[in-house]
């Protein structure tokens, strides 16, 4: 990229996150297909391919891809059921959609020169806010004002309860922030770090072996992080959903 042409230690680790229109250089409208759009679409295609192509034969003795898909399905379903309860299973399709999208987007983002849609706070914030708003709406729809009992900790001593309620309300509203920044921050940091190492490698000549080895190590770590962050996002969604369905602690 730019650093090679200009020489010296001129690394732009954040350039990889720039959103560009796919076609031409025109101004960015809300409907303009961008590199982000392309990689979101590829993530969707990858998920669809993984889920549907592997299960085409509906084999009783599964092939390896089918086994993976079955494991993902059972894992997510058990997670939703154990965390959010049986009535949480109604939301299982959405939760599976979000998990698969985030996981594949994270993993595809590790392909060199690709783009990670989930490294953008806009995407993760939209995902987190969707969860936040839905959970709040479901909570009030199911329990009416009783949903506010979530903030009134009846097991605490009475004088402490208003204080705790304040803290609980604040933490409730901070949830979408931490929920979204955790994912975007992890993705951004990992990719930026790899890019920085790559920049070092570009100017170190033979010594480039060190950053390249480091990149390989970080890459493995990032693969793990990609899946773990998808899992964390999903399980937090389940936990929040549990609060909406069963606000009593």
């Amino acid at each position: 990229m730019a650093e090679q042409s200009e020489g010296g230690l001129n690394i732009h680790p954040m350039d990889q996150f720039i959103i560009k229109p796919l076609f031409g250089d025109g101004p960015l409208q809300w409907y303009t297909p961008t590199n982000s759009t392309l990689w979101m679409a590829l993530s969707v295609l990858a998920v669809v391919a993984l889920l549907l192509l592997s299960t085409l034969r509906k084999a009783e003795v599964p092939s390896r891809p089918q086994l993976i898909v079955e494991l993902i399905y059972s894992f997510l379903r058990n997670m939703v059921e154990s965390v959010a309860g049986r009535d949480g299973l109604r939301f299982f399709p959405y939760i599976m959609t979000v998990f698969m999208f985030i996981a594949l987007s994270n993993v595809l983002g590790l392909i060199p020169a690709s783009f990670t849609a989930t490294s953008h706070i806009a995407v993760t914030a939209a995902l987190a806010l969707t969860v936040f708003v839905s959970v709040t709406v479901i909570g009030f729809a199911k329990h009416g004002l009783g949903f506010l009992g979530l903030f009134w900790i009846s097991s605490a001593p009475l004088p402490l309860r208003p204080v705790l309620a304040l803290i609980e309300v604040m933490s409730y509203f901070v949830r979408p922030v931490s929920h979204s920044i955790r994912l975007a921050g992890n993705m951004m940091a990992g990719h930026a770090m790899i890019k920085v190492f790559a920049g070092f490698a570009g100017v170190m000549g033979v010594g480039a072996v060190v950053p390249i080895v480091a990149i390989a190590a970080v890459y493995g770590l990032e693969l793990l992080v990609a899946l773990i962050q998808a899992y964390v996002f999903t399980i937090l969604t389940c936990v929040y959903l549990k609060d909406a369905l069963h606000p009593q602690h």
Binding site: A2, S5, H12, M14, D15, F17, I18, I19, K20, D25, P27, L28, Q29, W30, Y31, T32, P33, T34, S36, T37, M40, A41, S43, V44, V47, V48, L51, L52, T55, K58, A59, E60, P62, Q66, V69, E70, Y73, S74, F92, P93, Y94, M96, T97, V98, M100, F101, A117, S119, H120, I121, A122, V123, A126, L127, A184, M188
Partner: protein, 177 residues
């Protein structure tokens, strides 16, 4: 930054905080999630759930069948054991009957044989008696003859056939008693 884009111009530091790209990203995210959600909910989940259910049903059916077969096998074993016992009892009965029959036949044969033997013995005894009587008579006759000869040799002229015969017969008669 030779290839500066509009996004980079607006946010020289962090592209993530370039708010002008937010509507675009969110719009496409909604589209992507919507498409994916439809596919996952309508196709993927029913299909995978179906596969798992089918497998669970198959396993359950197989286990049930195995259990049925095992109880059937146990029943068959029980049945065969019962038949075995029956056959053994039958065989014992048959054997006992056969032994009894053999015993009776042997007894009958023994009786028959001892009767025959008894008959033959009495015949033989009669014959032996006769032979002995004949032999005795022969001895008496020889003795009479001898007695006569002895008397005639010792006392010539005094020999008496009648008296010698009588004397020998008397003697033999008293001997025989």
């Amino acid at each position: 930054m030779a290839t500066a884009t509009t996004a980079a111009d607006n946010a020289p530091g962090i592209p993530q905080l370039d708010f002008s790209t937010f509507p675009n990203q969110i719009f496409w995210l909604v589209v992507a999630l919507f498409v994916l959600f439809i596919v996952v909910k309508r196709v993927a989940i029913p299909r995978i759930g179906g596969i798992l259910e089918q497998r669970a049903a198959r396993m359950k059916a197989d286990l049930q069948q195995a259990e049925e077969l095992s109880t059937q096998a146990a029943k068959l074993e029980e049945e065969s054991r019962r038949r075995m016992a029956e056959a053994k009892a039958e065989a014992e009965k048959t054997g006992a009957a056969a032994r009894e029959e053999i015993r009776q036949m042997t007894e009958a044969a023994m009786e028959e044989a001892s009767r025959k033997i008894a008959g033959m013995a009495s015949v033989a005894e009669a014959r032996i008696d006769e032979i002995r009587r004949n032999a005795q008579e022969g001895i008496v006759e020889i003795a009479q003859e001898a007695a006569y000869e002895i008397v005639s040799a010792m006392l010539p002229g005094k020999e008496d056939r009648e008296a010698a015969s009588d004397a020998v017969r008397r003697r033999a008669g008293s001997e025989a008693q």
